[in-house]
Amino acid sequence: MSGAKLVQGNEACVRGALAAGCNFYAGYPITPSSEIAELMVRFLPDAGGVFVQMEDEIASLATVIGASLAGSRAMTATSGPGFSLMQEHIGFATMAEVPCVVVNVMRGGPSTGLPTSPSQGDVMQARWGTHGDHPSIVLAPSSVGEVFNLTVKAFNLAERFRTPVTLIYDEIIGHTRESVVFPDSVDVISRPRPNGDPSTFLPKAAPPDGVPPMPAFGDGYRFHVTGLTHDERGFPTTDPGQAGALITRIHDKVTNHQEEITEIETLMLDDAEIAIFAYGIVGRSAHEAVLRAREAGIRVGMIRPLTLWPFPYHQVGEVAAQVDTLLVAEMNLGQLIGEVERAAAGRSEIVGHLRADGEPITPTDLVAAISGAGAVRT
């Protein structure tokens, strides 16, 4: 394979970020994400960017937001405990509509939990971790190569929609070295910029797509940024009409563009009676399991969302309508399975294969589960 390199997942994240034009990184060390910071400080300066190690994860994301307001494409990376601390500013970035990328390399939890063991326990936190009503864009790669691609995508979505985007993958993907071929270049999308008269600029007046143009501090547009509910001028308001309009717009700008955001992978669903729903590292096991089960003659397929949030209800629903059983495999005690149930809306049986002990779900486990599910069917 030409140009293939043995690259660690965390390194692929860094390379993806740099390819996507990331020029600012702030973070705080935590296993299993630390390599991202260590590599950022090596590569970012040469790419014309700035690196800072902050005093904690709260500060890290605040600093990222500050840099983004100054026009940077900025990111941070962490793991579960740090992700908890970042919720405050994920909310702020959502409300203030500041593009930024947060990488959460998941480990076992809650609390400090299992520092160097994989987990998928943060997927609901990635959706609802910060308080209040808000949209979330969360991407979940399952291979080192996908880490690269989705990191690029995370930046592009963040800029496109002026919102924080979370890239979430587990310890195994973060630490695994895999042969990857990086593309020579990637498409880079930048945040919309205003071009009108600065004196009449309304920082939160949105065009029909719901994403207001965004100048940087220092560009000649003077505006106010706040986490308080605000009006089109960006100034705090408690008016229910204005508050409702803001929250709705921030929500809609994501959900109305779901087709632009959502990405799923399917495998052998055409004649499947059983479909495995898996994501991240479990998607790799599911893939393997499908191949093995097919060898055993079982009609099984797979649906793997690369975009966890907004959740691909429609696509999952279609699969549910088609198969008898949806086997939901995730390394937690049942998080996205609830969403799958909502999507399926009773059209198929939902079976969970759940695990939260720090050990991965293996293809062998899933083959057994498929067999079991099939046995139920027959």
Binding site: G49, M54, A62, G66, G218, G220, R222, T226
Partner: protein, 274 residues
């Protein structure tokens, strides 16, 4: 003579602060300092956290960031590193900066990033209704210390000196001219500058502790600065003075100033962000 009100977002005025709250005086002095340095408004970013003091940034026609509780120094760090040509000024309060945000404050000081922090110390949490802050003096009454505060309080300037701040000053809201002067010194200082502004909270601290309104508290402040009981204290009668009205003298002016390497983040050679 320019009118500092030109810097205001007039449509947002009057501001939300209570009558007699000296935070507005501080803002005014700051605007004087901006004018004195002839800073381009487009190049001035003010960053604030949460609290009464932090509300100030909403009223000035600069690039303003009203962030989260205590985190202003971190937001400011990002802004400054990403865009070093910006003047970045943090406005924080004593609770915001010294309790929930103390970590960020001391680390910004340690790094010596070239921002200016104005900490408006009114000895209490004003926005939330008068709870005790890390600066509430021992014995003082707050809504969470109805019998008088039993904890010792921070000396913000000493804390920041300990954290390595290369410029530390304390000024009084009662003294706008000195405030402006020190703010200019602090903003032109190369590196992290910290200015504690002794402000007032007539609505809570003043009311709970029987200190009168804003004007009384400004008067009290000036008296505290010169240390009324310092001179003449050995004279007859002074023993009759209740201790609450005989506050200790308090360091004001520029307390610390040193040149240290300025933190700019880890940059590529010849590169300054976007």
């Amino acid at each position: 003579m320019t009118d500092v009100r030109d810097h205001l977002r007039e449509w947002a005025m009057p501001h939300v602060l209570c009558p007699g709250c000296a935070h507005g005086i501080v803002l005014r002095s700051f605007l004087e300092a901006v004018d004195e340095q002839e800073i381009d408004r487009n190049r001035l970013a003010m960053v604030a956290g949460i609290g009464c003091s932090s509300r100030l940034v909403g009223y000035v026609d600069f690039c303003t960031l009203h962030g989260t509780h205590g985190r202003a120094p971190a937001f400011a760090t990002g802004l400054k590193m990403a865009r070093p040509e910006l003047h970045v000024v943090v406005v924080t309060g004593d609770g915001d900066g010294l309790a929930i945000g103390a970590n960020h404050l001391i680390h910004a000081a340690r790094r010596n990033i070239d921002i200016t922090v104005l900490l408006l110390n009114n000895s209490i949490y004003g926005m939330t209704g008068g709870q005790a802050a890390p600066t509430t003096p021992t014995g003082a009454v707050a809504s969470t210390t109805p019998g008088g505060n039993t904890e010792p309080n921070f000396d913000a300037c000493k804390l920041l000196i300990g954290a390595g701040a290369s410029f530390v000053a304390r000024v009084l809201a009662a003294n706008p001219i000195e405030m402006t002067r020190v703010m200019v010194e602090g903003m032109t200082h190369s590196g992290f500058s910290f200015i504690e502004v002794v402000s007032d909270c007539p609505e809570y601290y003043g009311r709970y502790n029987g200190m009168g309104g804003g004007a009384d508290m400004l008067t009290w402040m000036a008296g505290r600065e010169v240390g009324v009981t310092g001179p003449l204290s050995s004279k007859r009668f002074v023993n009759h003075v209740p201790s609450s009205t005989a506050p200790p003298g308090m360091a004001t002016g520029i307390i610390q100033r040193e040149e240290r390497p300025v933190f700019t983040g880890v940059h590529g050679e010849g590169s300054h962000g976007p």
